[in-house]
Symmetry: C2
Subunit: 427 residues, 2 copies
């Protein structure tokens, strides 16, 4: 039998939009990895009537119920009481939990208020999930074919509690595993990708193939279910090969965080250093590269030459050129890249100049006109982009420009033509 899961997140702060429900995302990801199908996520407030109804509903449409939140010591924390009632169990004092809570406060050198001992009451006959990351213990039990797990709400407790405490208890449920592999595509829009693979997506059952639009790019996720990880991977491999054959060099990576990771790793493998010269992207490319832990082994630095003075003074772009053509032209992009390579002493330098908007520049260049350039040991390449239509928003124009710049480096590192036009750069 295949198990189905509902995650119920309890907390009025979620319904007020105060916080992101990262617990639901984290648990869904982990549960999928265990081969358990999450069919629903629900959020209800700290209201016993609505929580009770949500639990009754959940047990009618899923056989594994996971709750997050509402295990704390305050009068708003009603999850245990409510679930105990629904499943006909008493709440029983667990002295070992009380002792854990007392020790937790002692370790912190703080006095424990009496209400904290509320947290030691758990449903009779449950498995206690002790909490090494906070005070509220979780619990798990089976009742008439429904598997119930209650976890604390704070993300810094919920995810480790799940992995360390709930997974061993849930292992009784899993048959086989689900594995997925995410291919990242730059240079073709989501609808074009979808059109290309529609028939195959409809045909495929195991693995499945699904596209996801990301900002300026597309992800294709291949997901397989099998008895073992090896068998699942063996199902994925031919579909991955098929996608790569069709999309060719537009697939820039698999299971990576983005172009910046591929560029960093590619440069590291070749022992090359990177640098940036940015005008309209204003530091975004450098920021994205340094988002990746370990960037320091490759990335030397960058110049954000927002004003022409900095383009001329720091990067050495010709003042006569700037006077004649302005900052947004192919020649300036080229000189910025060459200048960054020289000033920063790096092997590969990438440059961007353009109009991010919201208004055209003082020479009347339209929003979205962007030039990206790459200076490498064997030459310098420039790409002209018109991102206006795809990018109504300033942040989107900037992000797309950064993607194109990073993709030039990626292509050069892969031995491809860095200037090559994208097939369809929407997204």
């Amino acid at each position: 039998m295949s198990h189905t899961v509902e995650i119920i997140s309890v907390g009025t702060e979620l319904l007020l939009g105060n916080i992101l429900n990262s617990d639901a995302r984290d648990l869904s990801r982990e549960l999928s990895g265990l081969g358990l199908n999450v069919l629903y996520q629900s959020v209800v407030g700290d209201n016993p009537g609505r929580l009770k109804a949500a639990v009754e509903l959940a047990r009618s449409r899923a056989d594994v119920l996971i709750t997050t939140g509402g295990l704390g010591p305050t009068c708003d924390d009603l999850t245990k009481q409510t679930l105990a009632e629904v499943f006909g169990r008493e709440l029983v004092f667990h002295p070992e939990c009380a002792e854990d809570i007392r020790c937790f406060f002692a370790r912190m050198g703080k006095e424990m208020t009496e209400n904290n001992l509320q947290q030691a009451y758990l449903p009779a006959g449950c498995a206690v999930l002790s909490n090494a990351w906070g005070t509220a213990p979780g619990c798990a039990f089976e009742a008439a074919g429904t598997y119930v797990v209650m976890l604390p709400g704070p993300p810094s407790e919920c995810l480790p509690m799940f992995k360390e405490r709930a997974v061993p208890w849930l292992s009784r449920l899993s048959e086989g595993v689900i594995r997925s592999r995410t291919l990242r595509v730059f240079g073709m829009g989501e609808s074009a990708v979808e059109a290309l693979f529609r028939d195959r997506m409809n045909q495929l059952q195991n693995p499945t193939l699904a596209p996801y639009a990301k900002e300026g790019e597309v992800e294709l996720r291949v997901t397989a279910k099998a008895a073992t990880a090896e068998e699942a991977d063996a199902l994925i491999a031919p579909v991955e090969a098929e996608v790569r054959a069709l999309l060719d060099d537009l697939v820039y990576g698999a299971d990576v965080s983005g172009l910046e990771q591929v560029v960093l790793e590619g440069a590291r493998d070749r022992g090359l250093t990177l640098g940036t010269a940015e005008s309209c992207t204003g530091g975004l490319i450098a920021k994205r590269i340094t988002d990746v832990p370990g960037a320091a082994s490759v990335f030397k630095g960058g110049i954000v030459s927002y004003h022409c003075e900095v383009k001329a003074g720091v990067l050495g772009v010709s003042q006569a050129l700037l006077d004649e053509k302005g900052a947004v032209c192919a020649e300036v992009a080229r000189e910025m890249a060459l200048g960054a390579r020289r000033v920063l002493g790096c092997d590969l330098a990438v440059a961007v100049t353009g109009v991010a908007g919201p208004d055209p520049d003082e020479r009347g260049n339209p929003v979205g006109l962007v030039f990206t350039a790459l200076a490498a040991p064997d030459g310098c390449w420039v790409k002209k982009l018109n991102l206006a239509s795809q990018a109504a928003r300033r942040d989107r124009t900037r992000n797309l420009a950064a993607n194109h710049a990073l993709d030039m480096v990626r292509r050069w590192l892969a031995g491809l033509n860095p200037e090559k036009d994208c097939k369809e750069a929407e997204g």
Copy 2:
């Protein structure tokens, strides 16, 4: 009558834990601001049967239904079909939507694949919510006392569509107007802010006062309901004054996008220019400043001196100092700021050097040790921060460091001591 809302997010990628449900958070927050009570958030996959059941359930327990996702051109996009079926409406081709979609592709200079026209089919008699941020239009209709709004899933479309298109349509549900003002606080943690205002928050009915934790800062939102905007504003003013009196210079702005906006506007008002020198933040501060439209009138540029060579070679930081003390110390921060001010020719330069993690640096400096510096016409200030405890994650450490650096500029521009310690810099 008080209206109750359920948000239904449609997308298997949410159930796989692929993405965070930021739409639900964003919409919950906006809806609460409108005085509409969000009672449930639900997530279902791209499965027509389960979606249909979820919609039937939602209409039985709420009178406003807002869906996100599933409006795109692919065969997974089933929201419109399913809701049309539940509410007994035909899907009708809307030529004006088709025209919008065609224009969108034409502006991009691209060929439109035929499947995109699926997006022009909307329920008969609905109000079309045109999409200026993407291709899929949304829609809204009333059916037997239930108000239905369908919005696209991508967060960059969902939130602006809600604010610009859905809110005017939903205004029929609210009597009078709701206005809110958001005070931004840097330098005190959420729990301290909450403790300070707890009694007042419990007392206040109209306006209400509510805290929201943001990354490294806190927002206090004052929301009033009244017959007119003027009356609502008159209710808000004394509570705003009360908050400002208590928090004093920790309130850095009202209804602003962040510290970067306040810093840019403050510098512009004074006719001063800005520059940056960044090590561990890697371009993030420059990126945040240039996120603000019109940054060019103030921001000259920045140096991302990730490697020491760039600190010495471009910013002129003393090599002897770098050799002796390493890159993470107060003196290097100071020399970076002074160097950036000189090299970029700006009035105010801010610098950051520190250890973003995940690992300590080669001198054993711990993750989270950060120095920020400000060079101004009348002096140079340095602040030492230990962000370790507050910032387990690399991106969080970097963001907090950027906040502290920007806050130094903000304080200098406001005539305050730029070095002043935060009262409690958690958050």
